[in-house]
Every structure is written in structure tokens, then in C-alpha cells.
């Protein structure tokens, strides 16, 4: 201690002596001490200069901007009942669980909201799927007006799926030089969600909005405020998340979904492998790759990983920080991404899991925020962060590439980043709207419901006493977050905590395509008893109905589908009625439970210009059931029902009446059955704005102040 103190004093003395010499003998020679100091001084000067310049500009233009702002805001704040609205969205928070945990005393802050303000189930959309419900949340309309019915939509020309929220296509023009095809321009990104988010109306009225990771906000749209896109932002490959599992183990089955197995090859004392990236934009074929080296130190159970100019050490069972990765295509084309490495095993085999390559928020190749600088701002302030819409790698846990602990570490790592962003947005929005959606609640419940359900097939080998309280901890964490928010808001703030849907167990899988096949509605080509993905062996000329995605059931309608055979009108109505009567109340013979509790005719539940894109029927599975992954992917299997033994053990893509979301508010709301579609009109009303006539939601009567 004394020794180190002496050293420190010595160093200080030497430093002071040198400085003294430099400044006491000021001749021209020592006025400059090399580029290092030069950069430091210049950069500091430059920062202050830019800040000063901008201050000057801000000062000079302040009166004009103030005038314009007052003019724009006269509508908003003139009649506003609040200064600020804060919305915290917990994707998938379940009202029954919330009530149970509050009663058990696990959620003191939410309980406080319940006592002093409001706690109600929040009616969700048909179907109860996040992109559908959050689209309704932001636009205030039913899916017939915003055009989102599922994660996937179908292409009527070929029965193949495409992402329902956004389409990314190659630049239209290319310059051909030899074997290269150089893109002239950027990829075209087209948002498929229709309707206007309510923060656009607020922004136009001069109310500043900070919107963080609300699903289906990709591509980000221009509006007067800041927005970071959430669910539906692709990874650098353009997928919704493709992890990479690098292993020395030979063979192994192909992952059903979401991942690629990459060989790790020995190279002297070390190993090398690669991360697959996007397709080469120069049209030379193949994907781009980022190679990396692994130098194991088995005695220390760690390895050095080298990728580009980055070198880092990883211990077994540990994640790296976010590592920048470059995919070079040549001719100056480089795609920038970030990913995290997880060293799964070092001996006897080497296995490394790599997250999907996220778009680098500090250097986005695709716009993921509005303005573009907002994602850069957050990256500079907090460091790199997950940008992928579905950043928590549920597939990797489902495929047992990650274990429970590694998955949770990934989830909560991302969650902490988002908390930092949210609290920064809260600080930066003292007046206006601050909305943030946390999707950790959804991912963790999907993957750990098996420990909550007494008899879940995926956890039968785990004794009840040894089941970790993952979901209880999750809710407690979210409650702590609410506690921190409550400390930062005043009585001029309307605080809403909402979720888009609730959750139920997913213990039994139902392949509805198999049921349709066995009941003669879906016909396979001669000699086939099962089909591959995406209706590979389906005979469309004899098929009357099919299902794709999580809840939609489609008729093979003549004039609509490419090979449709069902006549529109009475023919289709009769078929729908027939299907409804047969499926509604369908019993799972093995469990004796009702597998489908509701079949909903979309003509009756949707209204708007995009109803033609809707499924014909929405399948409302009963609690404990859901569409099987095979059925979702348009596959016909031999079995209709089977146990779900995957980690993905909880779900909400069932009868929407069974999985409402939650509504907490710091004020009393005098509505017995609030719905998610009402949020947008309520917020506009709180800021004193007129409601657009096409809104489907109705504003809630909100008490003037807390407790009243």
C-alpha cells in the first residue's frame, strides 16, 4: 500500500517536473509535441468549436423556431391534459401471471399502480401476434386497415411466404463490368404496414416523441421526433436472425430453423472458421464471409479469437462483447455488422456459437432509426447494441446450441442495453411522448414456460423442486424497471404499462395442414403421404384449404390464388362454414382437451382497404395448444397432434380471447374492457388533438390526476 502510494507520488512528481519544464521554458520548439497531443488539442478544439457554432446557430434561430413551435404546439399543449405520456410496453406480459405475482408480493411497483391507478386485462387483436397487435397499437386501427395479419404473408402467385412487414429488394440499376454487377444505389426497403402511427400526428402538432423499439417500425418513417426500429429489423443476411454454430464435430443434423452449422478446421496449433454474411452485392455469386481464428488455451479453459483487427479472449461459457465484423465484397463494397461470440466448448471439441450478425448501429448499412443519426447517437453513448428485431436467439436454445443460462445471459444483456436507451429517452423527453417496448418478456416466457407449467412435456425430466423460477424473476425485473420509472415521473405525466397479449402453455402441437389433408381439404400429389416445407408436394388443383403462418387458414380461392379451385361467393362461404363447424371445438384425442376454441371468420372481424390480404379464417387454438412448426411452414405430416418437447414452451398464438395483454396506468381509467386499439386515440386525446375519423379505437376516460 505504502509502496504503491510512493510510486504514485513519484509518478506525479515526475509528471509535474516535466510539465514544469515544458511550460517554464516556453520556446517555440516545445510548443508542439507530436501528433498525439496535436490530435488531442485539435479534437478538443474542434468539439468545442462545433458546439459553439451550433450554439450560435441555435441562438440566432431560436426566436423563429420558438414562434413556429408555439404555432404548431398551440393545438397540442393548449388543450393537453398532460405534459408527457410515458408508455412502457412489455411484449407478452400476462395479466393472470401479473395478478398472481402481485398478490404474492413479488411486484410491489406494479401493485402500487394497481392500487392507485388502473390494472385491467387489455383486449388484443385477432390474431394475438406481436406484429399484428403492435401495429394496431401504433395506428389505432384494425388489421384490415394496417395490413399486418401475421409475421408472414403469402404470395398468391406461388403460395410461398414473405415477411409481412417489410420487403428489401436489390437496387434496380446495376453497372456491368466484366464479371461484376455493381449496384447503382442502395437496396430498396419498402414498409408493408399501412396506417399512420399516432406519434406522427403528435409530431405534426409539435409534440416531441421518442419511440424505442416498437415492433413493426422498420423501415423507420420520417416524423418530427426520434425512433429506433424494433421487431422486424433484419440481420445483415436479410433474415430475421440466423445464428452460426462453428464446431469441429463432424456432421450433425441441419437446424430446422434459424441457424447454420459451420465447420471449424484445425490450422497448426489453432483453428479457423468463418461467419457467413450477406450475398455478394457484386453479383459474383455466393455469400460473403468473415474468417476468424481461434487459439485455444485449454489449461485456462479459454481461447483467443482473432477477427479482422479485433483480438479478444473468451472463457468457456462466456460471451464476448459486441465485435465489429466486416464483409468485404471487393471494389470498396463492405457490409458492416456486429456479433457476439459464445465459447461453448474447448475440449475435446471446439464449439463456438455466434449470434446473428446485427446491423451495426454506429454504422448502419440499412436505416434502423429516424433520423439515421439516432442509432449512431445511441451507439456512441452506450456502445454497440443488438439491432435485430428478434435479437434474443430463441432458435439457438430450441436447437440446444445454447443452454438456459447462455440464453438468459443474452436476453438480459440486450435488455440492459434497452433499459439504458429508454432511460436516456425519458431524460431527453421532459415533454411529449416517450414510448419503449421491451420484448425480453415475450422471449423468456416463450422459452421458459415449461418450468411454470406443472406437466409440460419439455420439462418432465426436471423435478418440480428443481425448476428455476425464471418467469418469476423476469416479472420481478420488469417490476424493478417500473419502480425506476415511477421515480422519474411527476403527476403531469400519464404513465401506461401495456402488453400486446398474454401467454399460455404450449404443450401440444397441432399440424392443421395434416388435419386438412386427412379430412380431404388439402391433397398431396399422388403417392405422397407427407409434404416438404412450403407445400412442396401439394396438388393445388385438388386442394381447397391450407394454412400458413401461425393462425391464418386460407381457402384456395379461384381467381385469387394461382391455382385456386374454390368458387368465391356461396362456395367459399359454405366451405368456411364447414371448416368452422368441424374445427371449432376439435378435441385432441390424446389429452382429451379442446384444441381449438374458436374459428373466426375474417369478414366479420376486419374492415378496411386491406381485408383482401387477410386469411379467410383465424384459428383460435385452445390453451395448451398451438400450430406446430411444421404446419407454420406449410408442411403436411402424418400426425396431427404431438407433444411439444422443445424449449419454446409457452405461446400466445391461440384464441385471442384467452390471452389478453395488460394495462397498468398511474391514473384511474373508467373503462371496463380496454383494448390495445384504444391506446392511440387515448394518447392523442390526452394531448388535446382531434382524432382521425378512421380510428377504430375509442379514447379511454382518464382521470385528471392520480387518484381522482
Amino acid at each position: 500500500m505504502i509502496f504503491s502510494r510512493k510510486n504514485r507520488l513519484d509518478r506525479i512528481a515526475v509528471a509535474l517536473l516535466i510539465l514544469g519544464l515544458v511550460f517554464l521554458l516556453p520556446l517555440r520548439a516545445e510548443a508542439y509535441a507530436g501528433p498525439g497531443a496535436g490530435f488531442a488539442v485539435l479534437s478538443s478544439f474542434w468539439t468545442i468549436f462545433v458546439a459553439f457554432l451550433y450554439s450560435f446557430y441555435a441562438l440566432v434561430t431560436w426566436p423563429i423556431r420558438q414562434l413556429l413551435r408555439s404555432f404548431r404546439r398551440r393545438k397540442a399543449y393548449g388543450k393537453a391534459q398532460v405534459r408527457r405520456v410515458v408508455i412502457v410496453g412489455f411484449d407478452g406480459m400476462d395479466p393472470e401471471l401479473a395478478a398472481r405475482f402481485m398478490d404474492e408480493g413479488r411486484l410491489p411497483n406494479l401493485a402500487k399502480l394497481r392500487e392507485r391507478g388502473t390494472f385491467r386485462p387489455l383486449r388484443t387483436t385477432f390474431p394475438a401476434i406481436s406484429p399484428v397487435a403492435w401495429s394496431t397499437f401504433q395506428t389505432g386501427v384494425n388489421p384490415g386497415k394496417h395490413n399486418i395479419y401475421d409475421f408472414l404473408a403469402r404470395d398468391l402467385r406461388n403460395y410461398l411466404p414473405f415477411l409481412s412487414s417489410a420487403q428489401i429488394s436489390e437496387p434496380k440499376r446495376h453497372l456491368k463490368i466484366g464479371k461484376y454487377s455493381i449496384p447503382l444505389g442502395k437496396p430498396e426497403i419498402k414498409g408493408l404496414r399501412r396506417g399512420t402511427p399516432f406519434w406522427h400526428w403528435l409530431g405534426k402538432a409539435g409534440v416531441f416523441c421518442s419511440v424505442i423499439r416498437v415492433p413493426v417500425t422498420f423501415p423507420p418513417e420520417k416524423f418530427p421526433g426520434v425512433l429506433l426500429s424494433g421487431m422486424c429489423v433484419p440481420d445483415l443476411k436479410g433474415s430475421q436472425g440466423t445464428f452460426c454454430f462453428c464446431t469441429t464435430r463432424a456432421g450433425g443434423e441441419k437446424f430446422r430453423e434459424g441457424g447454420i452449422r459451420i465447420p471449424v478446421e484445425r490450422n497448426g496449433a489453432g483453428f479457423h472458421s468463418y461467419i457467413p454474411g450477406p450475398d455478394n452485392p457484386l453479383g459474383t455469386g455466393g455469400e460473403l464471409r468473415a474468417a476468424f481464428k481461434i487459439r485455444p488455451d485449454r489449461s485456462l479453459k479459454q481461447a483467443r479469437v482473432e477477427i479482422d483487427s479485433e483480438t479478444f479472449t473468451l472463457k468457456v461459457g462466456e460471451y464476448s462483447e459486441w465485435i465489429p465484423v466486416k464483409f468485404k465484397a471487393g471494389m470498396g463494397f463492405t457490409a458492416h455488422g456486429i456479433c457476439r461470440f459464445y465459447l461453448k466448448e474447448l475440449s475435446p471439441e471446439v464449439e463456438i456459437y455466434v449470434t446473428p450478425v446485427n446491423i451495426d448501429p454506429g454504422r448502419p448499412d440499412l436505416p434502423i432509426s429516424h433520423p439515421v443519426t439516432y442509432s449512431i447517437y445511441l451507439a456512441k453513448l452506450f456502445g454497440p447494441y443488438a439491432t435485430l428485431g428478434l435479437a434474443e436467439d430463441t432458435w439457438a436454445l430450441n436447437e440446444e446450441v445454447l443452454d438456459d443460462q447462455a440464453f438468459l445471459a443474452q436476453c438480459y444483456g440486450n435488455h440492459e442495453d434497452r433499459e439504458r436507451m429508454f432511460f436516456d429517452a425519458l431524460e431527453k423527453t421532459p415533454q411529449g411522448l416517450c414510448a419503449c417496448v421491451f420484448d425480453t418478456t415475450d422471449r423468456v416466457q416463450h422459452m421458459f414456460w415449461r418450468y411454470l407449467d406443472d406437466d409440460h412435456p419439455a420439462a418432465r425430466d426436471v423435478p418440480r423442486g428443481q425448476r428455476p423460477p425464471v418467469i418469476q424473476d423476469l416479472y420481478a425485473r420488469m417490476d424493478a424497471l417500473i419502480g425506476r420509472v415511477l421515480k422519474q415521473i411527476d403527476d403531469q405525466t400519464l404513465f401506461l404499462v401495456i402488453s400486446d397479449h398474454g401467454f399460455k402453455s404450449f404443450a401440444r402441437c397441432m399440424n392443421l395442414n395434416a388435419w386438412l389433408h386427412q379430412n380431404g381439404y388439402l391433397v398431396l400429389k399422388d403417392g405422397k403421404s407427407e409434404s416438404g416445407d412450403w407445400f412442396e408436394d401439394v396438388d393445388w388443383s385438388r386442394t381447397r384449404a391450407y394454412t400458413m403462418g401461425l393462425n391464418g387458414l386460407y381457402l384456395n380461392l379461384k381467381g385469387r390464388e394461382r391455382e385456386g379451385i374454390v368458387e368465391a361467393g356461396t362456395g367459399s362461404e359454405a366451405l368456411k362454414e364447414e371448416l368452422r363447424s368441424k374445427l371449432n371445438g376439435l378435441i385432441d384425442p390424446a389429452s382429451g382437451s379442446v384444441a381449438i376454441t374458436g374459428m373466426f371468420d375474417c369478414e366479420g372481424i376486419y374492415a378496411g382497404p386491406y381485408v383482401d390480404n387477410a386469411p379467410d379464417l383465424i384459428v383460435g387454438y385452445g390453451a395448451g395448444f398451438r400450430a406446430s412448426w411444421d404446419s407454420v411452414m406449410g408442411q403436411v405430416t402424418g400426425k396431427i397432434f404431438e407433444d411439444n418437447v422443445k424449449a419454446w414452451s409457452g405461446d400466445h398464438c391461440i384464441d385471442p380471447r384467452l390471452v389478453p395483454g395488460v394495462l397498468f396506468c398511474n391514473r384511474k381509467i373508467a373503462t371496463e374492457k380496454p383494448a390495445i386499439v384504444d391506446v392511440a386515440p387515448t394518447v392523442l386525446k390526452m394531448f388535446g388533438l382531434d382524432l382521425p375519423s378512421y380510428f377504430d379505437g375509442k379514447p379511454w376516460p382518464v382521470a385528471v390526476a392520480e387518484g381522482k
Binding site: 507530436g34 498525439g36 479534437s43 478538443s44 423556431r65
Partner: protein, 274 residues
């Protein structure tokens, strides 16, 4: 004699004498030295600094600059961002301080030595120049005499300036060479080197009594006798101007600019946070 001044005034100049070939032009020398120093300094900076902390500090600064733009209509937010910019600038400067300290000594030393070659032009043949002797005792002023080698001659009578205790001679050189002029007073003689050359040469504009730091920084010759009547002898070499990119540069300014550009280049390709 103290070995440190010996090292400073002999070994290092010898190194530079090798480094500066007779054919080298001042411009090429400055450019070459600047590029090498630019590279060395960013390497020193890399290993002497906390690269992660500097990266974080710079990122925070950029974030707060962006915050000023992003949240321009939120006055309290903008005010806080300005305060954070100032604080962040302080943090950044603090983090740059250690490598700055490590770099400043060798670079200062290098600049001093280079300044002997590049800061002044040697006397050209047939060019008039002044020699100024400063004496300690006003009474010794009238006794001061100048002894010149044959290649140098006085072109005007000596001027005595009693107020400054100084005598000034105007001389002219006949041919290139290193010459010694002797100044005698009160029975003692002090010598000063005069460099006459059309090219690049190491010059010492002044010879001083024993003061290590002063001699280190501006002189290039052994000290005058500490108790002698002559305190200093100066030769009025012309400051060197380097023409580059249609501008006239003092070599230090050019060194500053070029080494900064070189440093920026190397830091970028080596991925060093500066």
C-alpha cells in the same frame, strides 16, 4: 564537465549529422522526419494510453454533439448536452495527458536538434552578418576587441551600445567553412563559431555561459567560461523559410501539419484511437 550536457551537445548532433545528408534539401528532410515522427508518435500513443477509455470518451463527445442536433427543441436537454460536451472534452484531454507527457520529451528534444539545422540559414559567402557580444561589466565594454580568421572581415566599424552592455560588428565571409571568431576583453578570450555555407548545416545562433536548459534549447556550443567577462556571443543567422504548396512555411509549422496528417493516416490504418 557534466556528462549530460556533453551527451546533449555532442552525441545527438552527431546522430543528426548522419541523418542529414549533405544533398538533402530542407523540405525533403522536414517531410521525411514528419512522416516518421507521425508514425512513431501514434505508436507511442497507442501503447501509452488507455485506448478503450479514449474511444469511449470520444464516442461520448460525439453522442452529445448529436444530442444537441437531435433534441434541438428541448432547451434543458440541449443545455445538459453542452455541459456534457465540456466535461467530456476535459475527460478526453485528461486521458491524452499521459501519452502527451511521454511523447513531449523526445519530440521536444528532436525539434530542438532539428531546429539547429532547419531553423536558421548558414551565412552565405559574401553576405553581411552581425556578431553581437554581451559583456557583464560595463567597464569591459570599451576594451572588447574582435579577432577574425582570414576568411572573415569586418565591413563596418564596431558599434558599442553601453545601455545594453553590447558590442556589435558587421562582418562578411569570403568562402564557405566553419570559422571561429575570438572576442577578447579584460585579459580573457571567448570564441564563437560562424558557419558559412550555401546548403544545410548545423548552426548555433548563440553561445552562452553555463546554463544547461538555456543552452539545450537555443545554443549548440559548449558554454563560455562561467566567470568570464563575456556573457554571450550571437551571430545573426537568417530564419529559414521553406516553400511548399505555394506557401512559405516556418519548418515547425510544416512539421506540425505534415506530422499531423501522417499521424492521422497511420492511426486510421493501424486502428489507433487518438
Amino acid at each position: 564537465m557534466n556528462p549530460r550536457p556533453q551527451l546533449a551537445t555532442t552525441a545527438v548532433p552527431r546522430f543528426f549529422a548522419v541523418a542529414t545528408a549533405p544533398s538533402a534539401t530542407p523540405l525533403l528532410l522536414v517531410l521525411a522526419v514528419s512522416v516518421v515522427v507521425g508514425l512513431l508518435m501514434v505508436l507511442v500513443f497507442r501503447y501509452a494510453s488507455d485506448q478503450k477509455a479514449i474511444g469511449r470518451a470520444k464516442d461520448r463527445l460525439k453522442a452529445n454533439l448529436l444530442a444537441v442536433r437531435l433534441f434541438q427543441d428541448q432547451l434543458p436537454v440541449v443545455t445538459r448536452a453542452y455541459a456534457r460536451i465540456l466535461r467530456g472534452t476535459g475527460t478526453y484531454l485528461r486521458l491524452s495527458f499521459t501519452p502527451f507527457l511521454i511523447a513531449i520529451l523526445p519530440v521536444t528534444f528532436l525539434i530542438i536538434q532539428l531546429d539547429r539545422y532547419l531553423g536558421w540559414m548558414p551565412i552565405s559567402p559574401q553576405q553581411n552578418f552581425l556578431v553581437e557580444a554581451h559583456v557583464a561589466d560595463p567597464e569591459a565594454l570599451s576594451q572588447v576587441t574582435l579577432q577574425l580568421p582570414p576568411q572573415l572581415s569586418a565591413s563596418a566599424p564596431a558599434v558599442h551600445i553601453p545601455h545594453d552592455q553590447e558590442v556589435v560588428w558587421r562582418l562578411v565571409a569570403q568562402s564557405p567553412g566553419h570559422y571561429n571568431v575570438n572576442i577578447a576583453t579584460a585579459g580573457q578570450t571567448a570564441m564563437k563559431q560562424v558557419v558559412v555555407s550555401p546548403g544545410l548545416a548545423r548552426v548555433s545562433p548563440v553561445r552562452l555561459q553555463d546554463n544547461f536548459w538555456e543552452r539545450m534549447l537555443i545554443s549548440g556550443e559548449p558554454p563560455l567560461a562561467g566567470n568570464g567577462p563575456v556573457q554571450s556571443i550571437a551571430v545573426t543567422y537568417e530564419p529559414r523559410i521553406i516553400r511548399f504548396a505555394w506557401l512559405e512555411w516556418n519548418w515547425i509549422v510544416l512539421f506540425f501539419v505534415v506530422s499531423l496528417i501522417a499521424g492521422f493516416f497511420f492511426k486510421t490504418i493501424l486502428g489507433i484511437q487518438v
